[in-house]
């Protein structure tokens, strides 16, 4: 059988985390009642006019520069004309002729190693509204709350060859956008969406095969499944001697099959032309320099720094920087506590374990770094046992309680009350004459037994070192 290679390019839509829409002062907040975040502009009322949100340009520049793009310092918006009810003007304001960013790349890492994926362009555009299908009346209902939410569309070159590479690329973009603070990239809320352009060709062939575009991909898993499904469908066609048709297909993740979206009313001729309502944008060198200077440390840089500055292993540095949010918590905690290495251990152990156990998104972790730092200080000073500290941290993690007060209130603090310790030790010594005589006879092995007994009696509130020390003293007295 012939060997086939899959050729994949992606169009990724990322919703920008601005407070307002791209062309009007409506809120972009997710989840409002239908049409409560709308105005004449984002519902396409006659006579309304768009005014560009400056933050959208800044975010697009941040994203483009982070992805090594060139900038069109003179760029324009174009109208993309097509009729659909989620598109209130029946044209979408987008960029075709002079997209803000172009010709960049990002590096991905898969089991096969590192690889550069080239980015053809990134452009700014407005999102469409939401259509809900009303089964009762067999009609559709339109909500324009999302209409006009700013997007950047990131168009890759056809540089990917497997679903593994596609997922790595998407994760790379998501991480980058989150680090930049330009998008939260939540797939479930639709703030990151991908259309997959896919073709197959025989291994070694120079020409690309005919590609299809797949839409409606809502999760990384669906994307992976859609890629496998479409690859198989195309290979089957070729093996049967049939041609692949260039078309847009809709992936049905339940049926694991894609369907051609075809309609004779779909002319697919968008008649792009420069939007006369929006003057061109001039992006000065100074503006670009300013954005560059303000770029946050991205994951790769952070990872390297953790290794160098904190002496963390590459693996730990990689894990800790997966989420900018978590990395931020880590750095703040380490700064307050003063020992990055020990903080890292705690994150690698407790924080990640709890995040995983509770099936949380790293972005949702929200305890105060000060609280964890205080706890770590108490552990270091032997004011709380490591076992109790872990239990207390569960409370910090879940409810962000103040660990110092909590430990105090719940009597978990290790006591330096030598009177109580002496009393406890003597009681234990009296209760165990056998082991005591062994100890007095010079058999140090039973020390461990006694220390264990003491710690048990003290319910962890004793410091093992001072327990051992006091024990020695009391035994000495009985010699």
């Amino acid at each position: 059988m012939k060997q086939y290679e899959t050729v994949i390019g992606l169009e990724v839509h990322v919703e920008l985390a601005t407070k307002t829409k791209i062309f009007c002062g409506c809120s972009t907040e997710f989840g409002g009642a239908p049409n409560t975040h709308t105005c004449p502009v984002c519902t396409g009322m006659p006579g309304s006019l768009p005014v560009l949100n400056k933050k959208v340009v800044e975010f697009a520049l941040k994203a483009g520069l982070a992805a090594n793009c060139q900038i069109h310092q003179y760029c324009k918006f174009d109208r993309k004309n097509y009729f659909y009810p989620d598109n209130p003007q029946n044209y979408q304001i987008s960029q075709l002729y002079l997209p803000i960013c172009h010709d960049g790349w990002v590096e991905i890492e898969t089991s096969a190693g590192k690889k550069k994926i080239r980015i053809h362009e990134m452009h700014m555009e407005e999102d469409a509204g939401k259509l809900i299908h009303d089964e009762w009346e067999d009609c559709s209902l339109v909500d324009y709350n999302r209409s006009g939410v700013p997007l950047i569309e990131i168009v890759s070159e056809p540089d990917m060859r497997s679903s593994e590479e596609v997922i790595a690329y998407l994760e790379k973009l998501r991480c980058m956008m989150q680090y930049l603070g330009v998008s939260d990239c939540k797939l479930q809320e639709g703030s990151m969406r991908a259309d997959v352009n896919l073709s197959v060709r025989e291994v070694g062939a120079e020409e690309f095969g005919t590609r299809t575009e797949m839409k409606n991909l809502n999760s990384f898993k669906a994307i992976a499944r859609a890629i496998e499904g479409e690859r198989e469908r195309q290979i089957e066609l070729i093996e049967e001697g049939k041609a692949v048709t260039q078309e847009t297909r809709r992936w049905d993740d339940n049926k694991e099959y894609s369907y051609a979206m075809r309609s004779k009313e779909d002319a697919k001729d968008y008649r792009y032309f420069p939007d006369p309502d929006l003057p061109p944008i001039h992006i000065s060198d100074a503006w670009i320099e300013k954005i560059k200077a303000e770029q946050p440390e991205l994951r790769e840089a952070k990872q390297a720094r953790y290794q160098e500055e904190y002496g963390l292993p590459a693996y730990d540095a990689g894990i800790l920087t997966e989420s900018r949010h978590l990395a931020g918590l880590f750095e703040e905690t380490a700064a307050i506590y003063g020992n990055a290495k020990k903080t890292a251990n705690w994150f690698m152990g407790e924080v990640l374990r709890l995040t995983k156990d509770k099936a949380m998104d790293p972005e949702q972790v929200s305890f105060s770094p000060k609280h964890l730092a205080d706890l770590l200080v108490m552990v270091e000073k032997s004011e709380v046992s490591p076992q109790n500290a872990k239990k207390v941290f569960e409370k910090v993690f879940a409810e962000d309680i103040d660990p110092v007060a909590y430990i105090e209130e719940h009597g978990l603090k290790i006591v330096e009350d030598t009177g109580l310790l002496e009393e406890t030790i003597n009681r234990i010594l009296d209760a165990n004459p056998g082991p005591l005589s062994e100890l007095l006879g010079g058999k140090d092995k039973v020390m461990g037994f006694f220390v264990g007994q003491i710690m048990k009696e003290m319910k962890g509130k004793a410091n093992p070192a001072s327990a051992r020390e006091t024990l020695m003293k009391e035994v000495e007295k009985r010699k």
Partner: protein
Amino acid sequence: MELEKLTALQLGEKIKQRQVSVLDGVKTVFEQIEKQDSEVHAYLDTYKEAYKRAEEVQKGIEDGTYTSPLAGVPIAIKDNICINGKKTTCASKILENFVPQYNAEVIDRLEKAGLVIIGKTNMDEFAMGSTTETSAYGITRNPWNLEHVPGGSSGGSCAAVAAGETYLALGSDTGGSIRQPSSYCGVTGIKPTYGTVSRYGLVAYASSLDQIGPVGKDVSDCAALLEIIAGHDTKDSTSMKREDLQFSKELTGDIKGMKFGVPEEYLAEGLDLEVKASFMGVLDTLKELGAEVEFFSIKTMEYMIPAYYIIASAEASSNLERFDGVKYGFRAAEYEGLHDMYKKTRTAGFGEEVKRRIMLGSFVLSSGYYDAYYLKALRTKALIKKEFDQAFGKYDVLLAPASPFTAPKIGESLKDPLAMYLGDIYTVAVNLCGLPGITVPCGKDSKGLPIGIQMIGDCFMEKKILRAAHAYETSRGSFAVPGEGGTR
């Protein structure tokens, strides 16, 4: 006192002096409407609450809230300008029941200055037409001769001013839609520099060309109204930050040494002889006033109409996509599915001329033709602009007829759309290049129909054309009103 014969500023002054009340002005206008509008049909809608508004404004003038020289003066609004809570149809069936929930910026400005809005005026559907005959709600007739059109597309606004059915009006001008009907109706109208008056709330025809402008009985009235409506608006990205907006004080009458340029191609074949004679008369007057008048050549003239119609239609095809029966306006009663609803709604909702331009515009933007038509037109526009820039290196003001002929008879123009488009030859370049232009009456033909002269300035040079137009107007003397031989 025959109040209807006053200019807007004269009325405003009398109101200020308490010689007449705001209500008197409003009543006068309604009397004229009552008397004539069944024949002229300048209005699509009139607002009886103007009487109540008149009383409020009267109080506002008395307590010093309103200090504009036009406070208390009635004004009519072209029906493509949105007024909150008032039907705004663009003279189209597709917006037959559309009531905007917001004001156009110009409406806010008029209200702040204390003008009284009387009603909405008729127009060519979506401002596409040169005669006001493409309105879905009946034609408007020229008050000078009811057998003739008032011009268009702001025909209702110009006819209303000419008939004394209002003192002032707002029109919009995309390719001559204020200047040409002003000429046909013997009134004065200004198309300001692009970006001078906010387009927010003006239902777009061709966004890169549209401007709202004043229509009035004379230059002073128009200058005063322009002062009110001009100014930067953050809601319109194409609105300019200008500071030179004190127009009225430019009207000094002194144009000594001012340089006027006349494109000789504009006087070649196609120009009606009577219009030409009247035009030449203006040149003499200007010279007598101490101005220099020189002929020069504009080589891009024959490319203006093609470039204009490609650009305007392309933008219109996109601007009018939003009229689909989903969010507002007319929706066809019977349809099967989404696309059928779109088609039935738009086919029944738009008139013939609008459809013609939407189809042309869709075609010139379509795949395979974009470069050959649309981009070519944008390149041509750049050449035309360059030629005008050169002309303004030499001249303060350019002179042109407003139209090659006087108002045509009703029913004549729509027979041949292309011939009608050619009538825009003297006006479209002003829009393509963003220039300001004014039309002032300069005579009448043998049929008694008014003739207008157009003065064109460089971008932001309203002051020069206003000064020139006012000086000419003063020298010309008063201009008769329709139906009388006498003077105003």
